[in-house]
């Protein structure tokens, strides 16, 4: 029986070193797994980076990949979570023609109802920003695309977990 794929959010705490992104993404590449989104940022701990990676794979694949990620020397700890275990958001920005704001009154309603916000308006274009779940962003995209989008960019998923990730305790033990 084929095991089912699930969406997993992978959180990887690492040293902030050159080349780690390559090392981590290579683990997925080698297994012919597509990364749905990837985000790299500082974490809650000074000097520690955090990768947030979204993949659509089986639980068995996920467990093995976590093992391979943790095996990397400069990875401090890696976790995986399902959507139920996390609070997650994505962000996106749209660039659109300024004329539309005045000619298509509906746009203002769409912005209001979707809880998006206008970041800037000038003579030629205006920029809308929206944070939310993937589906909300997709909905907004569909609604706005009817009017013509000049540019659109979406971020990778960022997430925090409902349960604690005991990363700080690990590091404190080391520094003590």
């Amino acid at each position: 029986m084929e095991a089912e794929n699930n969406i997993y959010t992978v959180s990887v705490y690492t040293e902030n070193n050159i080349g780690l992104l390559n090392r981590i993404s290579a683990i997925f590449q080698r297994r012919h797994i597509n990364i749905e989104s990837i985000n790299s940022s500082v974490s809650e701990i000074e000097g520690v980076s955090k990768f947030t990676i979204v993949v659509n794979i089986t639980e068995d694949q996920m467990k093995k990949i976590i093992g391979q990620i943790e095996k990397q020397v400069e990875v401090i700890k890696a976790y995986f979570h399902t959507d139920e275990d996390t609070i997650y958001q994505e962000s996106c920005i749209f660039k659109m023609k300024s004329d539309l704001l005045f000619e298509e009154r509906q746009i203002q309603n769409i912005i209001k109802e979707s809880n998006a916000r206008i970041v800037t308006v000038n003579r030629d274009f205006f920029v809308i920003e929206k944070s939310g779940r993937k589906e909300e962003i997709e909905l907004l995209y569909r609604e706005l695309s009817a009017f013509g989008i000049m540019q659109f960019t979406r971020s990778g998923r960022i997430a925090v977990t409902k349960d604690e990730m005991k990363i700080s305790t690990m590091l404190e033990a080391f520094q003590a």
């Binding site: 080349g19 391979q68 401090i76 080391f174 003590a176």
Partner: protein
């Protein structure tokens, strides 16, 4: 699972001295106890070679004939001694030529540090002459790698490189050093690396898992051990032998595990896997408890996973958490260093002998002997077999020689028919299956263990992949014994073509040169044997020669290696013919 973090130890500061980055590299190597390194000079590594010239009384550089040879020599050195092997090369093609050896060391857990020169930092990314992104290229095949662009970074990175290469599950590390960093002067001081905060080399032993393992072992009626290289990497041979003997468990080995207990030990039941022995393969699917120690359930060991040891409970003693449940689901996983884990297990075991269970192995061995072994080592037909050559070499060296093989039929035959009295005696490319590994690896092995007889055994195919290293043997006067089993075929591929591709011998037949003349061209004494009656004397002459020696043995052209588990078949469907 508990994880243990490493506490940083504070070191007393040492006095500093102002030296160049390249001299610092040499001082780091000396501080790590490196006495020999293998490499090839070139533009971007010249400052380091200049220092090697100045330090030649303290550190011996071996000029190989190709950078791949340097890595395999470093691997041979590491595999026989347990020390870190070191290879050095220039940027660009010098660096890319290291990759095969690095990949081999990664999959076979061999401690190795590779140092590459790199173009000056201001040229990085400019497609400069001999520039290549070796850190990017080597990332998937190194345990760790790092680029250094400032001399001041050299001591810490080198210390970390050696620490990571040899600690925990060993592996290859690459350090790429720009040319300007090699020239730059700085205040040098060296501190050995004691720990890296994000890295847990040895998981903390969980004693309740050891207890659970002992309970299963004590209750088992038909237990079987399969051990791998983890036993010798963990220097756990004595603890392992004590466990095997006390619990009376038939024990089989993977190709890299060979020799951790002598081949002749009554509880040693032979090799598992594709060309392993009949009994341990068949009885893997009959045992009630499979105890895996320091091995990783490679597909060449397990055959089809869906039919592998399904009836048995599985215990896995392992240092690398990523190996647990990777290929075979375990009932009990004991994470930790083999030496510590087995020492903890020993007092919990009951003394057992399992005579009926042992008899099953003996019965199946008798079948294998009749159908395969007898004909391999005591052939009556015309044409020398690889098996009889191996047996002759092995008996004349009394099982004490280190045998360094290449990859293919001769490799399987060597593993099957050599008796190994000592640990670290079977040096071979197991995971990557690198043809061309043998000859250069034998150079490193002999240099690391000059008191041991080191015999390189290759086929005519793999031998020609790194044949240029005869030049290294000649120049360095390395007294290795070189045997080529010549069947004028890429024998293993030909065997598969015969069995699975209706004898369509696509590009496997070789028209070979005069190997004896080539060896003699390098001023290496050489002989060729074609007849059975000449074999014994030829082997004796080889062994009694003080310097390097080359022996070509012409064997039957279409000999096959059996037993064999066809790809995708179950271990219990192992074929004897």
């Amino acid at each position: 699972m508990d994880t243990k973090t490493i506490k940083k130890e504070t070191n007393t500061p040492q006095t500093t001295e102002r030296i160049s980055g390249s001299e610092a590299i040499i001082k780091c190597l000396l501080a790590e106890g490196v006495d020999v390194l293998y490499g090839y000079p070139g533009g971007a590594i010249m400052p380091v070679y200049d220092e090697l010239y100045k330090y030649q009384d303290k550190i011996h550089h071996v000029l190989t004939r190709h950078e791949q040879g340097a890595t395999h020599s470093a691997q041979g050195y590491a595999r026989i001694s347990g020390k870190v092997g070191v290879a050095i090369a220039t940027s660009g093609p010098g660096a890319t030529n290291l990759i095969t050896g690095i990949a081999d060391a990664q999959i076979d857990s061999t401690p190795m540090v590779c140092i590459t020169g790199q173009v000056a930092s201001h040229l990085l990314g400019s497609d400069a002459f001999q520039e290549t992104d070796i850190v990017g290229i080597s990332t998937p095949v190194t345990k760790w790698n790092c680029q250094v662009t400032k001399a001041s970074e050299i001591p810490e990175v080198m210390a970390k490189a050696f620490y990571i290469a040899k600690s925990g599950r060993p592996g290859p590390v690459l350090v790429d050093i720009t040319k300007d960093a090699q020239f730059e002067e700085f205040d040098f001081k060296y501190e050995k690396c004691k720990g890296v905060r994000s890295y847990i080399p040895i998981p903390k032993l969980n004693h309740s898992e050891v207890d659970a393992a002992a309970k299963l072992i004590n209750a088992a009626k038909k237990p079987m051990i399969v051990w791998g290289q983890g036993v010798s990497l963990g220097q756990a041979e004595a603890e392992f032998k004590a466990v095997v003997e006390k619990a009376g468990i038939p024990s089989a080995w993977t190709i890299l595990g060979a020799g951790a207990i002598p081949t002749s030990h009554p509880l040693n039941i032979g090799m598992v896997g594709m060309h392993g022995n009949y009994a341990p393969n068949v009885l893997t699917n009959d045992c009630d408890l499979l105890i895996a120690i320091g091995m990783r359930f490679d597909d060449r060991v397990t055959g089809s996973l869906s039919t592998y040891a399904k009836q048995a409970k599985v215990i896995h003693f392992e240092i690398d958490p990523a190996e647990i449940d990777k290929n075979v689901k375990t009932d009990v996983a004991v994470l930790g260093d083999a030496k510590e884990s087995l020492a903890a297990l020993l007092p919990l075991l009951e003394e057992k002998t399992h005579p009926e269970w042992h008899q099953k192995f003996k019965d199946l061995y008798a079948i294998e002997y009749e159908k395969v072994i007898k004909n391999d080592i005591y052939p009556t037909k015309e044409g020398l077999t690889m098996g009889e050559v191996l047996k002759e070499i092995n008996s004349q060296t009394k099982g004490d020689a280190a045998i360094v093989t290449d990859v293919g039929q001769h490799q399987m035959i060597a593993c099957r028919y050599a008796n190994f009295n000592k640990t670290r005696s079977n040096i071979t490319s197991g995971g990557l299956g690198t043809m061309g590994f043998g000859l250069p690896a034998a150079i490193g092995a002999k240099m690391a263990a000059p008191d041991r007889e080191v015999i390189s055994i290759s086929g005519d195919g793999g031998y020609q992949m790194t044949i240029q290293e005869l030049g290294t043997i000649f120049q360095q006067k390395v007294p290795v014994k070189i045997v080529v089993l010549n069947n004028e075929f890429l024998g293993m591929v030909r065997q598969w073509q015969q069995l699975f591709f209706d004898k369509r011998y696509a590009s496997t037949e070789m028209t070979n040169p005069d190997f004896v003349a080539i060896a003699k061209g390098y001023f290496i004494e050489a002989e060729k044997v074609t007849k059975r009656e000449d074999l014994k004397d030829a082997v004796a002459k080889m062994i009694n020669t003080d310097g390097p020696y080359f022996l070509e043995v012409c064997v039957e052209k279409e000999g096959n290696v059996f037993p064999m588990i066809p790809t995708g078949a179950s271990v219990s469907d192992v074929r004897l013919e």
